[in-house]
Amino acid sequence: MKLYISEGNPHCLKVVAAVELTLVQCDVQCVNHEERVVPFLSRPALPALLLPSGGHLFSSNAICQYLFETSGRKPNPLINQWLEWETTELQPALLQALHMAVLQGKATEASKILQGPLSYLDQCLSKGTTPCLTEESVSVVDVVLWGALHPFLSDSSPALGEWRCVQAWFERLAGEEACQAAVLKVLPGKGLEVLKPFVQRQPAPASSQRRDPQSCNSTASEAEDAVRVVSEEEMEAAALTWSRGLTACTEPPEKSHPILPQEGRRNLLLTSALPYVNNVPHLGNIIGCVLSADVFARYGRLRGWNVLYVCGTDEYGTATENKAREEGLTPQQICDKYHAVHAEIYSWFQVDFDFFGRTTTPKQTEIAQDIFWRLHERGFLLEDTVEQLRCEGCRRFLADRFVEGGCPHCSYPEARGDQCDKCGKLINAVELKNPLCKVCSKTPIIQSSKHLFLDLPKLESQLEQWLDKSTAAGDWTPNAKQITRSWLRDGLKPRCITRDLKWGTPVPHPDFKDKVFYVWFDAPIGYLSITANYTDQWEKWWKNPEQVELYNFMAKDNVPFHSVVFPSSLLGAQDNYTLVNHLVATEYLNYEDTKFSKSRGVGVFGDMAKDTGVPSDVWRFYLLYVRPEGQDSAFSWADMALKNNSELLNNLGNFINRAGMFVTKFFEGCVPAMELLAEDKTLLAQVGWELRQYISLMDKVKIRDGLKHILNISRHGNQYIQINEPWKKIKGGDQDRQRAGTVTGVSVNIACLLSVLLQPYIPTTSRTIREQLNAPAACVSTMLHAGGSFVCSLPAGHAIGTVSPLFQKLEADHIEALKKKFGGQQPEDEPPVKKAQKVAPDAAVAAAPVAVNDGAVVSGADPERAKQLMQAVAEQGDKVRVLKGQKAEKAAITLEVNKLLDLKKQLALAEGKSAEPTAPQKGKKK
């Protein structure tokens, strides 16, 4: 028998130790790292054992087990479980940690990665009755784990930290002669340096998770997900907490308006980005701002904080003017109409604003003009002339997207005012050759016009000082910090704050009297004016940074305006404004792997959600479940049905319903007496731990991660019921019946806890559960107080109400129909012009594509999208060619070709052309 090892390869440590320990006769040969010993493996694999039969073992654990078994030790299932844990849980963490420690010199971070596995190991050791892992003497498991951990634990590294049991165990192993001999042979020299040549040859570890795109950014380390073994102390502590029951805590007072900051409480002011009035918001908009803020506002109220949540519609600007012209209404009428649409959508989604206002109010004018004058007086505004195109026919200056002409770079005749669709270069509208007004097709003239600029460079250092403090102390999402940093790094330039428009807040300066404020200056002031419309005492919120914490919720595209531009205005105005403390930005939500697109009818828009027949709570649940926290995510119908059926129905709903039904059926609707056994206490400890995780995540606005812990609780609960089978025990003797009672009582109390935790996410269901359980009001404040405590809130004898199922299955055909309906395949038979005309707020019509081929309106073209599509077309084209090259099945080719044609059509639309030309082109080629 021959064993091949290489120096500095940590996997060789355990096998050499195993050889020494088992005294199996075996020739050990040291070879180079790159030596290919196993003939059929393309990557070198060491250690390797050449067996007497001529076969090869190339797994270090298999080798160790072979050696131990050869020396007469019996295999057992426990050994298998440990070895599996070592390869699937510990090794990936070790590889990652080695990479960090050896190649990047980040020893502390490396030891953090190991905390999870080490804590698991520690708990197992502390629970066990033998000094070694599986028996009295050293077994293969001890050798394998010792060898794996040796590089990190040998010189009492920080990784060992507080894991006392691991430390004792490790020291015992390290004292074995066999282990010492193995170290001398395999890892001569000190520290991790000796491992460097080995680690460099390993493929970089894919960071923790593999393949699953949905579960990427959870900061809770994987180890926390792994088996959490509960210690005696934890169990007793949990049982003690449980026995305390509800404190006579007073229910947080009913909301009484106006809500104002209060001395001695946490005062939170929440805003979500103001939705633009004449777009119907899509699901991405909804999850990005209003829904996220709503969950946090509800959570804050449950925690007993003093929360004010305001939002409203952003109503000024060119687009509104234009829409008004289109519909033959005044801009104000348009705003009134669409403001109502927005309000209705959010109310259907149960977004509980304290006030939902709008920006077209006298307060807006008053406050915006005040801030303007203060900036002006303090010398933070600059004057400059800007050349602009003006259409004499329409008697107005033309916004960039209302002018078309020859591209100055490539002469493409239909370039737009800001960018050329052909060459993609940015254009200054006045440089266009033969510019034409897109509304009346007349030639505009160049006219210079004076404008005011906010002097951002002058405010920069003040802004940076404030940002350093705010980002360090508050909960800014990583993307918010990063976007802000990149803006500052590029240096700030003066920004124009005025526009030649009518529909806006008028500039009060006499030299600029025909102008209005640019929307980016004006819109964020909406937060202040909306609050002012809510209460005259708005300054108690907005000029009170000492007492108030401000949270801004938005999607990431809005970050610079909230972190750089708006704070600069407020800092320059020097009026002790409340500036943002916590900036919470989401990434983007895609729709079935493409973008939401109003113009192509792709995606679900707020007003259609209610017509799907899917309840508002389910929408909320799913959107929050896939909330783009940390990275983009996608809405998918199939996934929504899956999550509804698996998580809501089978996990959560099933557990709560079963717990309630047992009380009703077996105990006449009254919670039975509970005698806690060790097993129950373990469960209480597990649930308590999940609850504390939930609270610590939610305090940091990790909304999606918080939801995971709720679902974990009901998973624990289901497992608990499944193992204890109260429905069987109830038919047994006295002892069994009592057991059934305890299990039922504990379960129904967990259901009560769940109703509280769910309230921010799915408020209607939460209320229903509490009604069904007849839950006392005080349970909220008790359980969510401070770090969270899981107490018995439904004591023995408590009478519950009528229990009924909470969720319904989403059937595949229903979902399939919805997917088709919102998939964006435009009905060919409907004339496009007609579609453009009926852009109305009602559901069916809003789904229709808007104004793609109608020359008068430009909103159909979308250069960003076009670029993506161009890429997609190229890729799909390649795919088809490959398939044809492979002579693949005809149906398969046709399928891919159809996809390609569809993409081409979409591209044409995104480029603002009619979809037809692709076909004749193809004809010409042939």
Binding site: F40, S42, S53, P77, N80, T87, D225, R715, K887
Partner: protein
């Protein structure tokens, strides 16, 4: 995925009682609650099922044989599961070479390693184009043998590996 696999294995082993499994963690590690506490991990649970069914020979009949089975089971969960496209190529290439002169993965008889490797490779093999199947001919031969192994296939679709002029896609 792992759960379907477990239920197929139960059927293969002819176990009358069907266990309920849960999963833990983002990698959906299967867990079986037993009287001796939870059993965690696909291999652990599968080995347990084999013992339940009183078929210890499926885990190997000698020390060497058991080590071989262990090694290929480990290979399945560490190298095959969750592998990228590139890694999949290496896996197929290596197995193809290994199976050149073998009928089964470990020794001369069917073992648990064959069953789990078949379940694990199925998604890779389904995606292979016909010429790739021809390229990995030993894997394909072994795979076809396994999918026709009595009562093994269950939750998976049969993959057509026939080498004739009529090209048929693997998806059904």
């Amino acid at each position: 995925m792992a759960l379907k696999e477990l239920s197929s294995l139960e059927k293969f082993l002819g176990l009358k009682k069907h266990n309920k499994y849960s999963t833990q963690g983002d990698n959906k590690v299967p867990v079986l609650q037993s009287n001796n506490g939870p059993m965690v991990g696909l291999l652990t649970v599968c080995s347990h099922l084999v013992n339940e069914a009183k078929r210890p020979e499926l885990l190997g009949t000698s020390t060497e044989h058991r080590a071989m089975v262990h090694q290929w089971l480990e290979y399945r969960v560490t190298k095959v599961d969750g592998c990228t496209r590139e890694e999949a190529k290496t896996v197929l290439k290596d197995l193809n070479l290994y199976l050149q002169d073998k009928v089964y993965l470990a020794g001369n008889c069917f073992t648990l390693a064959d069953a789990l490797m078949y379940y694990g490779l199925h998604p890779l093999v389904v995606d292979l184009a016909v010429h790739e199947k021809e390229h990995y001919v030993n894997v394909t031969r072994w795979f076809d043998h396994l999918q026709h192994y009595p009562r093994l296939r269950h939750h998976l679709c049969p993959v057509v590996v026939l080498r004739n002029r009529v090209y048929i896609s693997g998806h059904h």
